[in-house]
Amino acid sequence: MAKQDIFVGVEVGTTKVCAAVGESGREGTLRILGIGMAPSRGVRKGEIVDLAIATECVHDALAEAETNSDAEIVSVSVAVTGGHIRSFNSRGEIIIPEDRFEIDEEDVNEVAIKAREVNIPSENHFLHSIIQHYFVDGQAGVLNPVGLMGRKLEADFHIVHGVKTRLQNTLRSIRENGIEIEEVVVNSLASAQAALDQHQKDLGAVVIDIGGGVTDYIVYEGGVVRHSGVLAVGGDHISNDISMGLRIPLTRAERLKCEEGSAKIGSATPGAMIVLKNDAGFSGKEIEREMLNTIIHARVREIFELIRRQVEKEISPHALGAGVVLTGGCSLMRDIQEVAESVFDLPVALTRDAGVSGPKSVLNNPQYSTAIGLIKFAQAQRAEEEEAGLVGSVVEKISGFFRRRN
């Protein structure tokens, strides 16, 4: 029984492939057993451009995760991202037939289908339709309409969709390793599970996951997803900006960003210089610290401003009581918090472990938040299925049991 409720989350990121293995406890608690990570190649802006190399990287990460957690990985949940992913809110509406007044499960399913009856490009595929609110006969704020009396059932959904073929590439890099896929979750939704607790979701919060190639963001308010999006700009862009602005090789720019860079301007002593030592193929250089920070600041500020404009279209940022939560590898950038605060005019926090136990080093690292969030998402999904009915859950458990053993 020990390893039955094991969940694995895999994120194929632009800079690294990260696999997290977690174990579900009796009261819905979650313990991280181990993490596997491998630097990724063949991925650009969150999307796979070289399948063979990316598959290898996924293999390395999974192998490491298996060793660290002492568990056999059979099936995983996967996070997907990319500039092609789009989202919008849509309302579905159905009229309950004349002969009954009570709303049942079927009606709820039907209204979800109705909400999906919208025009998305033919090559796109629905990733999520996340329920926001139900309305029964115009009465707002109904959380669960099953069993209520009413003539008309409406429902608001947040719908996420993306280009099918491009989503398939990420999934293939995992399937090629002989691993089954349980859930496909959009990156921002997964990160939010790790970054926010229920209380923050109710109060309202923006989660910004700044990764290597893309920045994912999601807005929660009143406990539901109000908005989400992907900006195909990330840490790689900062490195690229530095490399171009200071005329240094990209690898040095990357290192400089992590070791010396800060997102704040005006903090460095005027005239302070950073000496870059010479290296093979690089003759060494002295650069001004303020110059470096200016380049970083411009990019980071722009990312936040773009997101703020997107968020403002949907909801006033001041309605978000829990403020902004930053996660992803780039949130390790020095002083990034202050930039975000000045842009959003909201309290900004760095991600922390939300109801998960495990090695401290893992939980405090925002690089792992997507993978951990995936585990939480899958766990919640499983719990929902089990609630659906005793028979259903038994069948599910047995089939799940076999699936996992095979």
Partner: protein, 444 residues
């Protein structure tokens, strides 16, 4: 030869509408039935049966000896001979009028053969001629189309203005699923409303009339194709809705073809409550579609009946020969088949048309019979037309690609490692270009 001086001082234009051939009779019938009693309508046909069933009281059977009242059998030469036989009666029709409208469907025998003769006769009598004709559907065969094109060319030389409706375009007025009857009816209805509104434009005065010269300037020019759109509406938003319907006419190609027209007549009619602001709003909507160099003639009439709907009529000519063609042709799929088009004078001869064998020197060319060279009344129009050719907004397309290329080059230089990846364009900016570079570019 009886010549009547034009009674120009009189305010109203004495108008006579001649329906020629089966289509013309049909149209005249509808016009007569539509109730405008003041209109002077005459039908003429080689087919006695069609004349008998017509409700129009003034009838002229053409060439009773040539055709024995059995029709022209689709041969313009028979039509021509019939017209020659009835020359005296036709000439009589030119008495006491200033302007005649010739209406019909070209391509068959009667209209194609008779109409040029009638137009010639009218010109001799000093009567102005407006020719409103439909050309056959392209599926009606090459021969009919060629006959129509030939007749149209002749009409272009003899008429003061030719309004030419291509049936293929008219078919778009009816839906793709509609029956053939329905489609013909839609085409007829358009021609009818065009005749009716032209008559209305010339007949009605206050407060802002459209003069005959305005019409000639807009519609003259020989062989071009008619642009015609009409919409009526009532209610709060009547001005906007009427304009919308008028611009939606397929003959205007949703307003796009107006841009190619050198002169446009806009006629608005409405109830006494028709407001100045509404007129201004409609005109703003129209001028958006009209080329800068084009002449826009506005006419407004108000009826005394308050229940009169607001009606917007847009008339113009789209002259393919004047250079609009190469630009406009690729847009419309129906175009190529219909373009067996009317020749302008210099081009007419070399065109190998079947009609030249069947109807030797006589049929399609009234010229040798009437030795005096046809005075081209279109001449005053010509200067208007040629500058508009130059003024056509052609160069607009040229600078665009150039500037585009420049930006592209700039971007590819500045994108660094993302040069080969799909660009990330958000809010009009390429985010792969370093932010500090873009900010620097925006500042000065």
């Amino acid at each position: 030869m009886i010549s009547y001086p034009r009674s120009s001082p009189s305010a109203t234009v004495r108008l006579r509408i001649l329906g020629i051939g089966n289509a013309g009779v049909h149209l005249a019938d509808r016009l007569a039935m539509s109730g405008d009693a003041g209109t002077d309508v005459v039908v003429m046909n080689t087919d006695a049966q069609s004349l008998t069933s017509s409700v129009v009281t003034q009838k002229l059977a053409l060439g009773p000896k040539v055709t024995r009242g059995l029709g022209a059998g689709g041969d313009p030469e028979i039509g021509y001979q019939a017209a020659q036989e009835s020359l005296g009666e036709i000439r009589d029709l030119m008495k006491d009028v200033d302007l005649i409208f010739l209406c019909g469907g070209l391509g068959g025998g009667t209209a194609s053969g008779v109409a040029p003769v009638v137009a010639e006769m009218a010109r001799e009598s000093g009567v102005m001629v407006f020719s409103l004709f439909t050309s056959p559907f392209s599926f009606e065969g090459r021969r009919r189309n060629a006959q129509a094109a030939e007749a149209l060319g002749a009409l272009g030389r003899q008429s003061d203005a030719v309004i030419h409706f291509e049936n293929d375009r008219m078919a778009e007025l009816a839906g793709p699923r509609s029956g053939i009857e329905e489609t013909f009816a839609a085409a007829d209805a358009t021609l009818l409303s065009c005749v009716a509104s032209l008559a209305g434009i010339l007949g009605g005065g206050a407060p802002l009339p459209v003069g005959l010269t305005d019409l000639l300037s807009a519609l003259g020019g020989g062989t071009s194709r008619a642009l015609f759109g009409q919409g009526t509406a009532t209610g709060d938003n009547r001005a906007h809705e009427a304009l919308e319907v008028a611009l939606k006419s397929p003959l205007l190609d949703r307003g796009r073809l107006l841009n190619e027209s050198h002169a446009v007549v806009v006629h608005l009619s409405g109830p006494p409550s028709f407001a100045f602001a509404e007129v201004a709003a409609i005109m703003r909507g129209v001028t958006k579609h009209v080329a800068d160099a084009a002449n826009v003639f506005l006419g407004v009439t108000t009826a005394s009946d308050p229940s009169t709907p607001v009606q917007v009529t847009i008339l113009g000519n789209y002259d393919r020969e004047a250079g609009g063609d190469p630009v406009a042709t690729p847009r419309r799929s129906t175009e190529p088949s219909t373009q067996i088009a009317p020749a302008s004078e210099p081009k007419r001869k070399p065109r190998p048309l079947p009609i030249e064998e069947t109807a030797p020197p006589s049929g399609e060319e009234p010229k040798p019979l009437f030795p005096e060279p046809s005075e081209p009344d279109n001449r005053p129009v010509a200067p208007v037309r040629s500058p508009s050719v130059d003024a056509k907004p052609r160069p607009r397309t040229k600078p665009a690609p150039k500037s585009k290329q420049e930006t592209l080059q700039f971007e590819s230089v500045a994108r660094g490692r993302f040069e080969k990846s799909e660009p990330t364009i958000v809010e009009g900016e390429d985010l792969d270009v370093p932010t500090f570079l873009r900010m620097r570019g925006n500042k000065p």
